[in-house]
Amino acid sequence: MDTQSFLVQQLINAIFLGSIYALIALGYTMVYGIIELINFAHGELFTSGAFIGIIVLVLLQKFGFVESHFILTMILAFGLAMAYVAVLGVAIEHVAYKPLRNASRLAAILSALGMSIFLSNGMMLSQGVSDRAYPQLLSIRGVTIFDARITYGQIFIIILSIALMVALYAFVKGTKLGKAMRATAQNRTMARMCGIDIDKTIRLTFIIGPALGAAAGVMVGLYYGSVRFDMGFIYMIKAFAAAILGGIGSIPGAMLGGMIIGGVEVLWSAFLPSEWKDVTTFIVLILVLYLKPSGILGEDVAETRV
């Protein structure tokens, strides 16, 4: 393989990985934008989405449904995973975050961390500590562009994640509920005075964010072929780095940040020892926080929020 096709191949991988990070990062950035809390449990919500995906797919495969109705299978797997995780997200918000909305920030973070530990260990106990194999449904056939191979599975995942992101963007920018979300993020007290139901808006955020995370979880499972109860941790760190890099609270920022983090990681693995690739994410994260804490597209909130 010559250099050009190698680079194209890496670019495709970067877009693929980046879009997954972006989907998870959106959950962080939306929740942070609206209640200024890092949802530590988001990584676990992502993992539980992957597990719901595996449950649905295995069930459908048993009935031989997958071969006959491939598209319907995918809709069911993604839909159920997203719906379940959205409800779980709302439940977590209700139990662990809502009572602490006016408490000290340390209390809220610790509560979020507690939820994360709880969910991760619950999954470990119920699903086991070993890798769980995902049904191999994505075709390994593909097309060749510039001598680089891109599988139909990758195309499917990239298109789906971009569609989800566009839909989210349209929702937040175009609808009344989206407007309410933006208003709440800007100034909660003022939004309440204008007649926006704050509780409902926050709940909506905890529906959309975890649902996107769950979609990313199913994608990761489908593509890499296995899931593990603790895989959420590393994805969480990376998505968080992406959210910060793009400017926390900013939706296009999370998408951009995800792509950059994905790109850095892929390029690093391509040219440098890949066992150190996770270290690069942390270093990017620390550098961004140190040099430009408001991120690339973030509003200048460094003084108040950092």
Partner: protein
């Protein structure tokens, strides 16, 4: 409890029970129905209790109950407290001292682990409890202590006592290195960055094969030794007493723990300790009042790291073995749990929580698997219901139970 509350409570419980049902796992070769449904039962049970408490909150019965509990756990009984304090401390110290004489090796081993975690919890208490800096990568300093001793002992044959100050120094320097870029950050950002630093250290230990032997770890460090003069035929010589048996190691960590308790207690009451609390409460106000916040925050990191490093060196010396998997993120969480459940900033609370959280799962071996599950939930519930911890620090308790809750944010 009003009728609508009861209804709401049942609706929520049923709702959450159904919600968690898919998490019981899925029939595969490795699926154990009984275990999976057991997990589910625990989930639902705990959630039901949490919801019940939540629903009951604010009703008159709960308020009465809560005030009884809080008066029992300190606060109200100040008269008896001052009288009992001296005696209870000496009884407790005596009990801890004679424990190895009565217990078997397994129990002593658990005791040693408890005391290591007490040291770690007290060290983290400086960072989280006093200075208010949430550190999620604390276990990294523990790793630094362990690896410093291991490497120096294996390659240069340095003794435990020589390595201890080196490890403490390295830990403190590393604490400052980590602390420096995070000086301007607060709350959530700080948490995530320290978590990142903790993982970097673990990854370095895991990937630097030549130095650390990667995931295989380091093996064969010497136990700590004591030197004492002996008068043999050649005049004065130094004899060596290896601290090899578990009871002796127990006393060593006991002494370390006592020194840590004294040090942290003195720090808490000192000028520095008050300055830390001032930073925790309001950094801008502290800075304006002339508190050198930059130095004190770095000092908090360095001090916390130093205690963890001592604990780590002891841990490596005791096991004669160390590997990077001892220092995963979950360990940081356990230490944080100890600090939070014990009561942020409260020394007796942290000692109690350290002993309870480490010893109780050992006693109920079959519950071991549920340990972290319970920790996590306990942490969330604690924050909602009793943010001041098991034995609250008096200063903090007053803050958290002021007449009116303060406005949002820090």
């Amino acid at each position: 409890m009003a009728k609508s509350d009861v209804k709401k409570f049942f609706v929520y419980t049923v709702f959450l029970g159904i919600l968690i049902l898919p998490m019981v796992g899925f029939p595969t070769a490795t699926f154990h129905a009984a275990r999976a449904f057991g997990v589910w039962g625990v989930f639902v049970g705990i959630l039901a209790i949490a919801l019940m408490v939540k629903t009951l909150r604010g009703t008159s019965g709960y308020v009465k109950f809560a005030s009884t509990v809080s008066s029992l756990s300190g606060g109200g009984s100040s008269k008896i407290k001052s009288f009992n304090r001296k005696y209870s401390f000496s009884v407790l110290a005596l009990a801890v001292m004679i424990f190895p004489l009565l217990a078997n090796n397994y129990m002593i081993d658990v005791g040693i682990t408890c005391l290591i975690y007490v040291v770690l919890g007290l060290g983290l208490n400086i960072v989280v409890g006093l200075a208010g800096l949430l550190d999620l990568g604390y276990i990294a300093f523990y790793a630094v202590g362990a690896y410093t001793y291991s490497l120096l002992n294996l390659h240069f044959g340095l003794s435990f006592w020589a390595c201890l100050p080196i490890g403490v120094g390295l830990g403190a320097v590393l604490g400052c290195i980590i602390g420096y870029p995070t000086l301007k950050m607060r709350g959530d950002y700080l948490a995530i960055v320290t978590m990142g630093f903790g993982e970097i250290i673990r990854l370095v230990l895991n990937n630097w094969d030549k130095l650390t032997h990667g995931p295989n770890g380091l093996l064969g460090m010497q136990k700590p030794m004591l030197y004492y003069p002996s008068f043999g035929d050649g005049g004065l010589t130094w004899a060596v007493f290896k601290l090899k048996s578990l009871p002796v190691l127990y006393y060593l960590i006991f002494i370390i723990a006592v020194l840590t308790i004294i040090a942290v207690n003195r720090l808490d009451k000192s000028r520095i300790g008050r300055a830390w609390v001032a930073i925790r409460e309001d950094e801008v106000a502290a800075e304006l009042s002339g508190v050198p916040t930059t130095w004190l925050k770095l000092l908090a990191y360095a001090m916390g790291a130093a205690f963890a490093s001592v604990g780590g060196a002891f841990f490596a010396a005791k096991l004669s073995y160390t590997n990077p998997n001892f220092f995963i993120f979950m360990e940081s969480c356990i230490v944080l749990c100890i600090v939070v459940l014990g009561g942020v900033g409260s020394i007796p609370g942290i000692i109690l929580a350290g002993v309870v959280l480490i010893a109780v799962p050992e006693v109920f071996r079959e519950l071991q698997a549920y340990r972290m599950l319970a920790f996590g939930l306990a942490m969330a519930i604690m924050m909602v219901l009793r943010p001041e911890g098991l034995i609250p620090a008096s200063r903090r308790k007053r803050e958290l139970h002021a007449e009116k809750p303060g406005p949002a944010g820090e």
